[in-house]
């Protein structure tokens, strides 16, 4: 057994040296290489994940803001359109009202004028009638002297009445 080990080059001094060497190296690597590197990598991984997450959230926010903006604009446009429509409607209503009132006014004025004209005409007419009757009375009186005034007048009135009814 011992001879075989010697032939294979195994001796305890070498073995101990390699063992100590390897274990110390392992401990050094474990605590001064793998630990900080994995920690740093993990930290970086988390940071990157956080960054990506933030970017995603920012994108989402941007998108929602964009949607909100669009909504606001369409809302504003709708509002403006509504206001304009309302104004138009109000204006047309007002116009109609004014027109109607003007028409009424005009009609009233026309009626008044007509009435006035008619009154004037009637007055003129009756005055003319009286004048005419007097004139005729005087004229006929001059022609027909024998007829007394009362009878005369009665005659003329009858004549005038006939004239009117005719």
């Amino acid at each position: 057994m011992n001879e075989m080990l010697t032939k294979l080059g195994i001796n305890w001094q070498s073995f101990i040296a390699q063992l100590v060497n390897f274990v110390v190296l392992f401990l050094i690597l474990r605590y001064f290489a793998w630990k900080p590197i994995t920690a740093a990598l993990e930290q970086r991984r988390q940071k990157i994940a956080k960054g990506i997450d933030n970017a995603k959230r920012a994108d989402e926010q941007l998108e929602s803001i964009e949607i909100e903006r669009k909504e606001a604009i369409t809302e504003a446009r709708k509002e403006a359109n509504k206001i304009i429509e309302d104004a138009k409607q109000k204006a047309s209503v007002l116009k109609e009202e004014k027109m109607r009132m003007a028409k009424v006014e005009i009609e009233k004025q026309v009626d008044e004028a007509k009435e006035m004209i008619i009154g004037e005409r009637d007055a003129t007419y009756s005055a003319l009638k009286n004048d005419l009757a007097n004139l005729i009375t005087k004229a006929t009186g001059k022609i027909v002297k024998d007829l007394d005034d009362a009878a005369h007048k009665k005659l003329i009135d009858e004549a005038v009445k006939d004239l009117e009814t005719a």
């Binding site: 294979l8 080059g9 390699q18 290489a33």
Partner: protein, 284 residues
């Protein structure tokens, strides 16, 4: 004359303690790794991408951690195994690559070897020394035992090997357990001889080719040895991961006693739920 020796050659003796060439290389490598660790430690910063050696180490850690995770399928386990396995891989890889260093086998002291005066080289890859490979294998298998006991508990771990003959698989269980126990020891041997054999053979191959035709001819063999060195380190590390994974997974039988680790009836196998058929005695 070409000197080929299975064991490391003694190049000096200090106070009765023989210094072999592999011990010398191990010492040098120790300081090289120390320097790498020092540089990495100073440059490492989560806020900035590392450059140079630190960046290389980061890449190595990143890749290797993913590699460990791909075998264990468990991030926590991967993080637990990583320091052990990464150290083994890193040290074994560097020591394998020493084999390719110029001056290997040509710079040394004259000494007496088997009664002949020959050149004893200063540089000899640690992996071509059974002492070193045995140490690494012992370290790997000890880690496997410790990790198994840590994860499964002392009783839980050792009940894999010592199965009472009056329990379910009866005598067969006890026999298989005993075989498993023996295989834990044989793994140490297979680990150490695999690495030693490959790297020592590479050294001999390079020495012979270099002896026969010193120019151009060794080139393809240097590439081959570069590849072999990498593959052997990877094989060593991968097997360690696999053994660690096996040691930290309890037997299906013990799952009834402990809390169940996985519901196999819901497992999908080939896209079919419940495709994993429970083995005998596992389904109540």
């Amino acid at each position: 004359m070409l000197v080929i020796s299975i064991g490391p050659e003694v190049i000096a003796t200090i106070a009765g303690f023989p210094i072999t060439n592999t011990m010398l290389v191990a010492g040098v490598l120790f300081f090289v790794i120390l320097a790498i660790v020092g540089v990495t430690l100073r440059r490492i910063d989560p806020d900035e991408p590392a450059k140079g050696i630190a960046g290389l180490m980061e890449v190595f850690v990143e890749f290797f951690l993913d590699f460990v995770e791909s075998i264990t399928n468990d991030r926590d386990k991967a993080l637990r195994f990583f320091p052990i396995v990464a150290s083994i891989f890193f040290i074994v890889l560097l020591s394998n690559l020493v084999e390719l260093m110029p001056g290997m086998g040509s710079i040394g002291v004259w000494g007496i070897h088997h009664g002949e005066t020959v050149l004893i080289p200063f540089i000899r890859s640690m992996s071509a020394d059974l002492n070193f490979t045995f140490v690494v294998a012992l370290f790997a298998m000890t880690s496997v035992q410790i990790m198994g006991m840590r994860v499964l508990g002392f009783k839980g771990y050792w009940s894999k090997f010592f199965v009472a003959p009056w329990h379910k698989p009866y005598v067969i269980g006890s026999f298989v357990g005993a075989l498993e126990l023996v295989s834990e020891f044989s793994k140490v041997l297979s680990f150490s001889f695999r690495l030693f054999g490959n790297i020592f053979a590479g050294e001999v191959l390079l020495a012979v080719i270099g002896f026969l035709s010193p120019f151009l001819a060794p080139l393809p063999f240097l590439f081959l040895e570069l590849f072999v060195g990498f593959v052997q380190a990877l094989v060593f590390a991968t097997l360690t991961i696999v053994f660690l994974n096996m040691a930290t997974t309890s037997h299906a039988e013990h799952e009834e006693e402990h809390e169940p680790r996985a519901d196999y009836t819901k497992a999908t196998f080939g896209g079919k739920a419940g495709g994993v058929v429970p083995l005998n005695g596992n389904n109540k």
